[in-house]
């Protein structure tokens, strides 16, 4: 059941990215291009998603446990630390260069576009590079898996 629920949520999420235009890098870049011919569509995507998600998460938080699992992996991290700031900056630069963030990039694999395949391979390499780098950091406790769950 957990697998079917996850698959269905992935489908709905993918449909949302598709309908909203988030899968089109040209549209994403037009939103980010505030000094050019600005397309505010993605602000509407964000507002609509939050209009559903804010009451939805409030409701989910009230339940003691999810319907199909023993426990919720509700994020616990709260501190605004250098990794958050540096990581988000690097991500933003990469996003602005091509107009693809992880969701639309993975979804676009369906088109078998060579550029997308190369982008996703590089993205996976970047993620594994972070995993390897974190593995040799003595000061950071080995909570990589927890950190991944902690934020999303």
């Amino acid at each position: 059941m957990l697998i079917i629920a996850s698959l269905s949520c992935g489908l709905i999420f993918g449909a949302g990215l598709l309908v909203s235009g988030m899968v089109q890098p040209a549209k994403v870049l037009a939103f980010l291009d505030v000094f050019g011919a600005w397309d505010p569509s993605l602000a509407v995507v964000m507002i609509a998603a939050l209009a559903v998600a804010i009451p939805g998460f409030r409701l989910a938080n009230r339940r003691s446990q999810p319907l199909l699992a023993a426990q919720s992996f509700w994020p616990t991290k709260q501190q605004i630390d250098p990794p958050l700031v540096i990581g988000s900056t690097l991500f933003g630069v990469g996003w602005g260069l091509v107009g693809l963030c992880p969701g639309p990039a993975l979804e676009s694999l369906a088109t078998l576009s060579p550029g997308v395949i190369v982008f996703v391979a590089a993205m996976a390499a970047g993620m594994m590079l972070h995993g390897a780098w974190q593995g040799v950091q003595p000061t950071i406790p080995s909570d990589g898996a927890v950190a991944g769950v902690a934020d999303g």
Binding site: A5, S20, P25, A69, G92, L97, L106, V149
Partner: protein, 141 residues
């Protein structure tokens, strides 16, 4: 604002929010794509089944749309392979270091009213806007 599409943006955004809420209510997981994908890539990492199922659904969506006559157009990407590879590396490393991306911090974290996620969202939005401003208007790309 010639290309402004508020209706499809609102419907699509609503679906994204609905998927994130359903995933939390049903499975107790956060719909953060970089976290889900990163977990699949982790050596010796367990808990892979639901992650792979979610990503399969994500890729299946445009295929189903294609079968019903709404094929997804191939995304337009920069001509330079170097730019594509550098951007992919930055997105991969950056989202893992920062603990999330547009979905995990931007939608789920912001919806939980987490100051950490809202800060991340403001930073990656600002960095992306600055990058587009430099590449399109300063360098004239």
């Amino acid at each position: 604002m010639a290309n402004f599409t508020p209706l499809s943006a609102a419907i699509g955004g609503g679906l994204i929010g609905l998927a994130a809420v359903l995933l939390m209510m049903l499975t107790g997981r956060i719909a953060g794509i970089s976290g889900i994908f990163g977990g699949v890539l982790q050596f010796g990492g367990g808990d892979r089944g639901w992650r792979i199922a979610f990503l399969a659904g994500l890729v299946l969506a445009p295929l189903i749309a294609g079968w019903t006559g709404h094929a997804m157009p191939s995304p337009r990407l920069p001509a330079s392979w170097t730019v594509i590879v550098v951007a992919g590396l930055l997105v991969g490393f950056g989202t893992r270091l920062g603990g999330g991306c547009t979905s995990g911090h931007g939608i789920c974290g912001t919806a939980r009213l987490s100051a950490r996620s809202i800060t991340a969202t403001v930073i990656f939005m600002a960095a992306a806007i600055a990058t587009v401003a430099v590449t399109r208007h300063l360098l004239g790309g």
